[in-house]
């Protein structure tokens, strides 16, 4: 039975909510509130479930491939191509068919999950970290620091990232760059992705900090003699958690797509390492005769990006219900 107190609050209000325990009113923690709202978003939950499934697949790829009785992702078998060199289609032994080298497409899609998640998660984590630090410094200190960092972000945002990727791929492809520090492969893709995406987070954080630094709790903290670093990281940062989580979750699919695009252009993950982007690139010339080679990694990419986007939307609704309204 409701006491009626909760009804007095705006529906979905983010200030207070109360548990109705038969007359006792118990305040919910922010986490409980978040989970309660997220649970109500079935699309987000399904997306979360799919992402968890992907993570499991990625972590246990060798085991999954073995259990399914598939050959490894790099096992070539030209006997599985016809006399024109065209790959054979789906069969019971190779449910997703094989590619031009007779490699099992399903096995490669499964292993490709690793690359996509690694790039998506690690790339996003690093760019978020950089973006948060730079954005906080710019927003908190204002003045010349803000000007300098903001212009720097503008410059970075103006870099044509695909061209940068192609250039780095050509220049550092064989012997690496910066005395071998920048090597082709996953590391350089993450590096390129971080360069491309951290300013987006940085700009958002800067804007939020600019308004938050004028709030009373910051004034109070400053009056109590807290240092700038403490104010930034102990007082302001926790209040930025919700938007950062939301934007990061939306950045992950962007990064996955960027990796796929770079791999498609031939400067990302290179064969024989399986990546959905390079699989799609390899499949493009023979799509007419081997649709499965493009369709299955394409579906995997589509579903993964969709899942992260839908989860991101769900997180946004759950963490910031005012926006949802």
């Amino acid at each position: 039975m409701s006491t009626g107190a909760a009804e007095l609050l705006p529906s979905g209000g983010d200030a207070l909510e109360f548990l109705d325990l038969g007359g006792d009113v118990v305040a919910r923690s922010p986490l409980q509130l978040f989970w309660r709202r997220l649970r109500q978003d079935r699309v987000a939950l399904v997306s979360l479930g799919f992402i968890v499934f992907l993570i499991v697949i990625a972590l246990a790829a060798p085991l999954v491939v073995s259990v399914l009785g598939l050959p490894g992702p790099d096992v070539q078998n030209l006997n599985l191509t016809d006399s024109f060199g065209s790959p054979l289609g789906p069969s019971s032994a190779h449910p997703f068919g094989v590619d031009s080298l007779g490699e099992d497409v399903m096995s490669r899609v499964i292993y490709g999950t690793r690359v996509s998640l690694e790039v998506g998660v690690i790339g996003t984590a690093i760019s978020t970290m950089i973006g948060v630090i730079v954005g906080m410094c710019a927003g908190f200190y204002r003045g010349w620091v803000d000007t300098l960092l903001s212009r720097f972000m503008d410059i970075v945002l103006s870099i044509p990232i695909l061209l940068l990727g192609i250039g780095l791929g050509a220049a550092c492809g064989v012997h690496g760059c910066v005395k071998g520090l920048v090597q082709p492969g996953l590391g350089s893709i993450i590096f390129i992705i971080c360069i491309a995406t951290w300013p987006y987070i940085g700009r958002i954080v800067r804007g939020l900090v600019l308004s938050m630094r004028e709030r009373e709790f910051v004034e109070a903290s400053r009056a109590l003699g807290a240092s700038n670093l403490r104010i930034m990281f102990r007082e302001i940062l926790p209040n930025l958690a919700a938007p950062i989580i939301v934007y990061s979750s939306l950045l992950i699919p962007t990064n996955i797509l960027l990796e796929a695009a770079l791999s498609f252009l031939g400067v990302g993950i290179r064969p024989p390492t399986a990546s959905w982007g390079n699989m799609i690139a390899q499949a493009a010339p023979i799509f007419n005769t081997a649709w499965w080679f493009m369709v299955f990694p394409g579906i995997a990419l589509l579903l993964t990006v969709l899942a992260f986007n839908l989860l991101g939307d769900g997180l946004q609704d759950a963490l910031n219900p005012r926006n949802a309204q």
Partner: protein, 600 residues
Amino acid sequence: MRSIRTLAAVALAAGLALALAACGSSSSTSSTSTTASASSALSSSGYKSPLTEPLTGGKRGGSLQVLQEIDFEHLDPGIAYFSVDYAVVFATQRPLYSQKPNSSEATPDMAEGPPEISNGGKTVTVHIKQGIRFSPPVNREVTSEDVAYAIERGTNPDVANPYIASYFKAIEGEPTDMTGAPMKGIETPNKHEIVFHLTEPKGQLVADALVLPLTAAVPNEYAEKFDKNKPSDYANYEVATGPYMLKNNSEGKVLGIGYIPGKSATLVRNPNWNPKTDYRPAYLNEIDVKIGGTSSVIGRQVLEGSNVVQNESSVAQPNIRLAAEKFKSQLEISPGGGDHYIGVNNKVGPFKNIDLRKAFWAGLNRTALDKVKGGTLVTNVATHFIYPTINGFEQAGGLTGLKVDYNEHPEGDTAVAEKYIKLAGYPTGKYTGHELTTIVASTGDPFEEQAEIVQQTLKNLGFPVKLTLVETSTMYAKYCNVPKEEITVCPSVGWIADFPDPQTVLNITFNGTTIVPTGNVNWGQTNVPKINKAMAAAENVVGNEARANAWAKIDDELVEDAAAIPFDWDKQANIEGSDVNGVGDIWNVGEWDYSYTSLK
């Protein structure tokens, strides 16, 4: 070496590097013989082939539509060096000698007869036919001075012919700074005779090279003003001597009329062409080239169209398959597509050890490498370096090549590979050394797949491997053509000769004296004194048969040395519409010959 698109960078390099090309000697003939029997063996049965297409009896008239994805590079006969360009250049221009579609033998074209080589190989004399006239607006008869000017302008830096330094450097008085000035060694005693005086006895090489379009006549008084521009824009106003000409206006302007870059080219009959002076039938009235689109889409349009052909450096593999399965009569397979081999660094890295090179050769599944390119329809497993249609192919063992155990199993033989690894000092039969094998290959289909096969082979044999894929021009210009990069394996390299003498296939690519710091096309840096010496001797051999034998022996030695690993003798696929009697050739990478093609 002439450029097909995938080999374009090599072509440029070849131009720079073949200063050490060949020495000729006195001879009364320079014609090179076709290896028709070998080519027949290599043609794909059941499909059209340039070797079997009738060259006479075509229907006169009609307009042929040509669809091609890529634009021309150069239509100026003094610059053209790309197979797609050659299709137009050889329909509009007549060099001193040229080749019929089904033969790589040089046939007198503007020349009256075979070149006369005298003075110990230091003089070459050619007599020119009477009655050959330039197309409008020039209209006058061709003279020997026009041929002289055509060759001399090749050294004009604003024309910059890509192969003149390779084949015509021996001409007396050629300015070393390539200024385009008249050459002392080119004499025109009368209007129909041209004499080349050489500083070295390279008459055979110069005579063989007269099939190149640089020798197509250019009227000095007309072209000179265009050649003074930087760069020369003679191509925008060029006149023809062949059966067709690029459509032009009364002032001779071609640009925007007969050729619109990126869009179209229109070839019409040359009103001044005299069929009595030419061996070409020239059935068609007009050839309309449409440029642009996507090769795979164009291919389908052509197969389902009527009076249309596709002209590309290579037709998309799915369309070749489609043609083979549903439009068999519209598919032509030419055996003259050059060759591909794996460049293996003989100088540094693990493969400086000859036994490890042999192990690599033995363990490699060359059939698989060919299969990812389209299988036996467009490839033949290569067993040595002189490829079909080149003089000396049969003498070098024909299809089977030298009988050595590492060459006998194209599918790869692990046992033989392990035998040679053991001989190299690794008792387990696996390479246990620590030298990294760097592989740099070209992106795109089928090079990526081929590189992966090579990588897997080396891994299976125990080699630590690092594969890098880069764009084709980068692969050549930055890595495989640069010895100091010390790339261990270049699996995407290939070669096509400018004319069918075996020296043009083996000398620059395997002679140790041709190694240069950049633009190097001796990819393996093969530098075996015995082979170098044999090449020096073979350069002076006279006569086709003798030259074939001499260079075939060198080919054998290169196989014995496992200097590189040949895996593919290319066949070129061409597709045509249902109402076309297309005739391709065996000497221009199999491109269509518009002077022989007709409509049904």
